[in-house]
């Protein structure tokens, strides 16, 4: 008898609390890119065997040592100041507690909308395409090939949208390193969830290409195919 009363009382209280929370935060939240990436990872790879998709990787400790040596050598050879996190031009990475922050400061002359759209130039037959974001300043599409257990995320952003973005580098398998592809500067890292990520500055837009089930070299080849869409 009391359990019945307790049940009704708790249910009423539950609905009251949910109502209060809904009222307190009445506007729907726009989830961050970081969160969307985490959730995409959770869903897209939920059927994969992580042992099968593990590719070659450099142990973290070795990668950190290599990165530090590279920075020190660069600083010594160029006489540059010892800004360990400085990347190319006005790009900088700052390590925070759990994540890194990519800072971009040269956004003044960059487009504020996606005046020119880009796409991947690889054969995507066999992939299921899902567009997550399609705004005038931000585009994100996911491509999943369940048969080959591969997935790709392609993002195009304006620089002002991307200017301070968190990178999921906590316990990264490969910490962020500067790269150059097709003459464009960018960075690469491999997250602890085995996502390979290229972030490229192409024609004053920021592109992020993340992949699972690819080697770093394969993903770099995919990055090379980024091209303008026909209007």
């Amino acid at each position: 008898m009391y359990n019945e009363m307790i049940r009704e009382a708790l249910r009423a209280d539950f609905e009251r609390e949910v109502g209060i929370a809904a009222e307190e935060f009445s506007l729907d939240h726009k989830f961050s890119r970081r969160h969307l990436r985490q959730m995409k990872r959770l869903f897209a790879l939920s059927e994969e065997n992580s042992a099968e998709k593990r590719g070659r990787h450099i142990p973290l400790k070795k990668a950190v040592v290599i990165a530090i040596i590279a920075v020190l050598l660069t600083a010594i050879l160029t006489g540059a100041s010892m800004l360990i996190y400085k990347l190319w031009d006005n790009y900088r990475i700052r390590d925070l507690d759990l994540y890194s922050l990519l800072e971009i400061t040269d956004i003044e002359n960059a487009p504020t909308t996606l005046e020119q759209r880009y796409e991947l130039g690889i054969d995507l037959s066999g992939y299921k395409r899902k567009v997550h974001i399609d705004e005038c300043f931000e585009f994100m599409a996911e491509y999943t090939n369940e048969k080959e257990k591969k997935h790709l995320v392609f993002e195009q952003n304006t620089k002002d949208v991307y200017q301070n973005v968190f990178l999921n580098t906590e316990d990264a398998i490969v910490p962020p390193v500067e790269v150059e592809i097709n003459g464009y500067k960018g960075l690469f890292f491999e997250s602890k969830y085995e996502d390979m990520v290229y972030i490229m500055d192409i024609d004053n837009y920021m592109f992020e290409i993340a992949g699972g089930g690819f080697t770093r070299e394969e993903l770099a080849e995919i990055v090379k195919t980024i091209r303008k869409t026909e209007k």
Binding site: L10, F25, L42
Partner: protein, 177 residues
């Protein structure tokens, strides 16, 4: 650990269910987490962690109606948010050494009304309330609650016992459990 959980979603139906739950309840779960954490970044993390937990228990979600799925999603994310908040305060996440209450349902005075039970709910700590809701309102077994909230089963028994005692007026809550 994440890849271990991911392997537990075995069928396309379960995968669809997880995605449905996310689409349907993420905003509500975020708001619940925000009401506890008051930090968007942490609230998003709580939602993410909640779905890791949901995936781990996805077979249970299969069996339940939409209303129950909603309740579980809310309870799970609230529990995670409370844990995150407690960790920030450097307080113990769970007090396993809850003093045994000598009150049983049979020993508590019989005369109590529904309104009095409603009033006594305010004396439950959030952690007690979460466990009590899953046990009394959704009628999960202690083992299921233990998995859902990722707490020891002994803690579940203690909380049920304590919550019942507080709700039926036999004991005062101290807000710590």
């Amino acid at each position: 650990m994440l890849s271990f959980y991911l392997q537990m979603v075995e069928t396309p139906e379960e995968k669809s269910l997880v995605e449905f739950l996310y689409t349907e309840y993420r905003q509500l779960m975020f708001k619940i987490a925000m009401s506890v954490l008051h930090n968007e970044y942490e609230a998003e993390d709580a939602v993410h962690e909640a779905f890791v937990r949901i995936i781990k228990n996805i077979s249970k979600f299969h069996e339940y109606s939409c209303q129950e799925n909603r309740a579980y999603a809310v309870i799970v994310v609230k529990g995670i948010a409370l844990n995150m908040k407690n960790k920030q305060k450097d307080s113990e996440e769970y007090l396993d050494d809850i003093p045994d209450s000598h009150c049983t349902e049979e020993e508590i005075e019989v005369k109590i009304t529904c309104e009095e039970i409603m009033a006594n709910i305010s004396a439950l700590s959030p952690a007690l309330k979460n466990t009590a809701y899953l046990y009394f309102a959704e009628q999960l077994t202690p083992a299921e609650i233990s998995e859902m909230l990722d707490i020891k089963i002994d803690t579940v028994y203690q909380r049920i016992h304590r919550a019942r005692a507080i709700l039926l007026g036999g004991e005062k809550g101290n807000g710590n459990v």
